[in-house]
Symmetry: C2
């Protein structure tokens, strides 16, 4: 939602605390005390029939007794009393209710019912709800806490990073551990059960917010995949890094997530595809959220993957080299010019290579370190720099830190500092660097990983124009599938669709009787194949519904009879629409599989692979969010482990990967045009002929999701 719609939630003029308490430590007291402690500028109205005042603020028996309009009502009463409080809020025209109380959907059926009752009230009245089952919201920028976490136990540092999470505990942890790394925050939203306003709403507002440059999120469920895609795209276009830690990835994690905040976690594989397309930085832990935010906090960005590194210990150089390899970065090849400039200060007994190992000379020559760093960032062959600084405050580490900061101010290339050592010795050095937007890390792994986030993100950002192409392809018409009544549509119908999208299919005709069969045989070239056509038969061979090869008219006549008899016997209740007679395609060719699955949250996902054991046994498939461009389709094919087979590894035959890529792109467009009633498209086999000779879809199946099927059958 637009940030402006949240204005009176983020900076309320009036706040009511329902369930305010005089008892220190109680939730209803802490919320009030937090506002007092942070010197909240608006008006505070407490609500509790037992008190006349709480923490110096006036207290009223009910919300209805408050003499003014309330921007935000914070609900801190036990679950059983929430509904009546919300009713009062709705009646009084309160704008937002933040329900801290637990005991709703996360508690099972009964709780869900209670939650839905409240939702109904809010939908009727226009009251917007945050929660229930949440710890609330921090407006760190303006120092306004709408939360029961005591501000004394928090570590607020104002800055430009927004936090949106379901979990309250996680939101608070991110803010606390971030502040310790000198990362400042604008807002923290915890959404709990997301009954009304969701993480997606808050993410959207953060993108709009001019004070938020980096958006971080911990999610267990994606409440609306389609909107998440839009949010991710918007963030990309505004060049605001979007960092997500998505949990509930494993089966065990999904199960645990189901019982927590009562939400489905959605398909993680598809989420990763969404992230890849829209440049969302996905991380694997809370620490990595902070690492990524730290890296993005500096405005310096790499143009490529060539990294120079200057180290005080050879071992660190080796560890850096190893870890860079793991994130697809390489050590820059230093030019002779760069080496000469380094040699101006590096003693002759030290070899000059990358990693530049200056050993302990930095302690004896006060200008050497800075000169080397400056030289390396100035070098054309270097895209970013990792600087090793294991020197603590007691050994003069601050001087070196300042040298690095000074050089960083002269360059647009990222400088990542490795402040490895004990916290006692290195902590302050690291903090000074972070404070000055030079990202410092205490492990090689986190440093190199963080560096890789930057390049990956910038690469997607640079190619964001391509997303426009996908938009243009993304015009759903939903006109094709309405006529079907079975669990799937028939092969000739699928082939007609494929053909409309320029996907080659064999020459063929559907015939209903001998007369039509004879007519058909005139236009087709033997050998042929004959297949049963029935919406109720998805596995045609299993019922004896396929015969090949058919070499002449006699065999064709016989095949027609045999199939009819087989099907009558093996599937007596299936309605037969006819028999499909097609030219039999001759080799050499590869058999590929193309599939599209409709993820209920994120939409169609296309996959491809070589047929048979490659997909079934070796699980060798590539996937992308549909639609895809031909270029992206080519990348999919090249990512297959079996790709060398397309290039003729065995018999030397090269197959038509260009035509295959084009067809994959077309299938992805077709999927977009089918609307929302189908669940799977499978083209198997899709044959790939020799280079230049194209591809052909030999069989195709479109199935409906169970829900839709039932709807259709009614």
């Amino acid at each position: 939602m637009a940030i402006s719609s949240l204005e009176y939630y983020l900076r309320p003029r009036t706040v009511a605390i329902v369930g305010a308490s005089q008892k220190r430590g109680a939730i209803g007291n802490t919320v009030v005390k937090n506002l007092a402690d942070l010197e909240f500028k608006g008006k505070v109205f407490c609500v509790n029939p037992r008190y006349e005042e709480v923490e110096g603020f006036p207290c009223f028996p009910t919300v209805k007794d408050i003499p003014e309009h309330v921007d935000v009502a914070v609900i801190a009463v036990p679950g059983d009393f929430v509904e009546s409080a919300i009713k009062d809020c709705a009646d009084m025209g309160v704008s937002f209710a933040l329900i801290l109380s637990a005991g709703f959907a996360e508690m099972g059926e009964e709780g869900l019912k209670r939650q839905n009752d409240i939702l109904k009230i809010c939908q009727e009245s226009g009251l917007r709800i945050i929660g229930p089952n949440t710890v609330g919201t921090y407006n760190i920028k303006d120092k306004i806490s709408l939360s029961f976490t005591p501000v004394s136990a928090t570590n607020w540092l104002a800055g430009n990073v927004g936090v949106v999470t379901q979990s309250g505990a996680v939101g608070g942890t991110i803010v606390n551990i971030g502040a310790e790394e000198e990362i400042g925050f604008s807002y923290m939203f915890t959404l709990g059960n997301q009954m009304d306003l969701t993480t997606i709403d808050m993410l959207e507002s953060m993108i709009d917010d001019s004070d938020t440059n980096i958006i971080t999120s911990y999610m267990e469920a994606v409440p609306d995949g389609k909107r998440l895609k839009e949010v991710a795209k918007k963030a990309l276009h505004q060049h605001k890094p979007f960092i997500v830690y998505k949990s509930g990835r494993s089966e065990a994690g999904q199960k645990a997530a189901l019982s927590h905040t009562a939400s489905l976690t959605g398909s993680n594989a598809t989420f990763e595809l969404v992230a890849e397309r829209y440049g969302v930085t996905t991380v694997d832990s809370l620490d990595e959220i902070i690492d990524a935010a730290k890296a993005f906090n500096s405005k310096r960005r790499p143009k490529g993957n060539r990294v120079a590194t200057i180290v005080i210990s050879g071992a660190t150089g080796i560890m850096i080299a190893d870890n860079l390899s793991e994130v697809n970065h390489q050590l820059a090849e230093l030019s002779e010019e760069t080496k000469q400039r380094l040699r101006e200060v590096v003693p002759s007994y030290l070899p000059i290579e990358n990693p530049v190992d200056i050993a302990s000379t930095l302690m004896t020559n006060p200008i050497l370190y800075k000169h080397c760093i400056q030289t390396l960032v100035d070098a054309e062959e270097v895209d970013s720099l990792i600087v090793h600084l294991p020197i603590g405050v007691d050994m003069g580490g601050m001087k070196f830190a300042n040298d690095i900061i000074e050089v960083a101010n002269t360059t647009e290339k990222p400088i990542i500092v490795l402040t490895v050592g004990s916290e006692q010795s290195m902590g302050d050095v690291r903090k000074v660097l972070n404070k000055n937007n030079v990202s410092a890390f205490n492990s090689v792994q986190s440093a190199t990983k963080a560096l890789s986030y930057l390049l990956k993100y910038e690469n997607v950002y640079k190619s964001r124009g391509e997303l426009e192409q996908f938009e243009l392809m993304n015009q759903s018409t939903d006109t094709f599938l309405k006529a079907s009544t079975g669990p799937s549509i028939t092969e000739p119908e699928v082939k007609r669709l494929l053909s409309q999208f320029d996907i080659p299919i064999p020459q063929g005709v559907v015939v209903k009787n001998h007369e039509e069969l004879m007519q058909a045989s005139v236009g087709l070239e033997f050998p042929l194949v004959a297949k049963i056509v029935s919406a109720e038969i998805t596995h045609k061979s299993d019922v004896g519904g396929v015969i090949l090869p058919i070499k002449n008219i006699e065999e064709l006549n016989q095949a027609f009879e045999t199939i009819r008899n087989n099907v009558r016997q093996n599937a007596p209740n299936a309605s037969i629409e006819g028999i499909l007679v097609e030219e039999l395609v001759q080799g050499p060719f590869l058999e590929a599989i193309v599939g599209v699955t409709r993820d209920p949250a994120f939409g169609p996902v296309i996959m491809c692979g070589l047929g048979g054991i490659y997909v079934e046994v070796m699980k060798d498939v590539s996937q992308r969010l549909a639609p895809i461009t031909e270029q992206e389709a080519m990348e999919m094919i090249q990512q297959l482990k079996s790709y060398p087979i397309f290039n003729g590894v065995r018999k030397g035959t090269k197959y038509d990967v260009e035509a295959f890529a084009k067809t994959l792109s077309q299938v992805s467009k077709l999927a977009l045009n089918l609307g929302d009633s189908w669940s799977d498209i499978e083209i198997n086999p899709m044959i790939i002929r020799e280079k230049g000779k194209g591809v052909m879809a030999l069989d195709g199946l479109i199935t409906f999701s169970t829900d839709v099927k039932e709807t259709v059958q009614q």
Copy 2:
């Protein structure tokens, strides 16, 4: 080497510092000052012609002027002066020289020569050398520093963890960051260029040392693979966890390692196989060395992979579930009894599942947390416990930490604590737990990973008896290969070897002329195959040296002529030993490949995979250190991605994996018996018939390493 041999290095009665200096900050001063600061109990003799005393110790012009026997001479002079100092030490019968100076093998050819000159002196005199290019040794237990790292900049905590590294910087970092996590150390050795004494020597002594229970190591190179295997085995048998971070894994890392401490990094893939067999805990960073040491520091060990977890936030439970899945652990299924015991304290509105989410109730009920933890460790269905404790000191965290410690003292099951939050808030809580040997971590990832180290290690420890079997198999005779003179030995010779090890081969005979051919044909059943036999021809088909199928006598005669002519024409210089005539094996069968490669450091490594595209394109292979038992061979086969094909995924045929496993084990024994002159064994194809019908080696090749070949040819 035996720990007793190091006694006077570790606890010298007399130390000489060659290059002692009065200049504070200089290496030659710091070494002396360190001894003074730690109140070294032995005698200190400084060596420098310029001074009469340094830091209160007497100073002599040369080592030769020292009036007493010197146990350890610390060499802190520039590289150019080291040789003469070592000569003096050798002449005076000094026991150990620790060469801190750099400028040797790590600097290239010239430095290597200098190093070798010194090595010669030490080999002639019996003087043992540590270094050069090292920061030295800490005896933390007895507070003796033989190092130029100022003790003021270190953080020494005595304990039972030994550190052995090449890199001095890394050794110091491990000790410093370890101490901060309350991990105490016995000794730290940094070996630098490992000219004489190596990491392996020191690792060996640490295993002997009764004060060291856990051994940690950072390695770039493995100086002696065979000895490392022995050390790893010894550590396992003594039940001392051995934790290794091996760097130089990537190509870039290996290149960087080559220039650092001038050492080859060895094969990482093989190193991993060694680690797997002998229960070495391999980690990926310095932090993980500490994490692992922390986990092993507690004596509590899991019996299985069922984990119970108690959390204060649902999100943490989900993250734990995800991360446990990644390390092959599962959430324990709680019994009704356990649930009932939990319910005694957990309020009825909270559901009881695993993760046990007690939300904020731990703050309001002082006995709840401890009761739950005790209940879960007591539960039979639970092997280990992860406890979430995000409560800082200010919120009463210490009380909860003490509750956990008290429960931990009642159980042999691991309790891992997750102290997630800012260092300021959680640091002290974590430290108290660690100090009491209850491992506490501030991230879910490191906690679950550390837990997995324990189980993996204990599982190998439990099956250590199997290692004895490998020992028995490990009787090298080296009698087979001496006769050969070519780059490989001939197929019939290889098959004879295979046959000696009970590996089935086809019926066949080598013939030299038509007469022999006729004789041979009598005993063989058509169809046949004929192949050229020549030690100089490794690719027989390429020269037209293979003909099949041969259906009768006429074709056999013709094949004999054709092969002879083909070979004369295509390989005129090859000496022909005859033609191998074999029965042609008929299907159905699978074609597998079995190979053995001799790793120069670690010895033979056996691999298997399905032939053709599976190995070539899909890179689907399993590897193990040879020899292997039949059981291990079966695991190798089952680990193949293509394993379902053995079980008849496509045509329903089940193939004889048992016979394949038996044969793999036999090939691995054969490899052990071939001695050290070969480089590769390849059996391709090894055919696997239907279940019960066995396997057969259709072709075999043994090649020699280039070095050996040259030796043989001389």
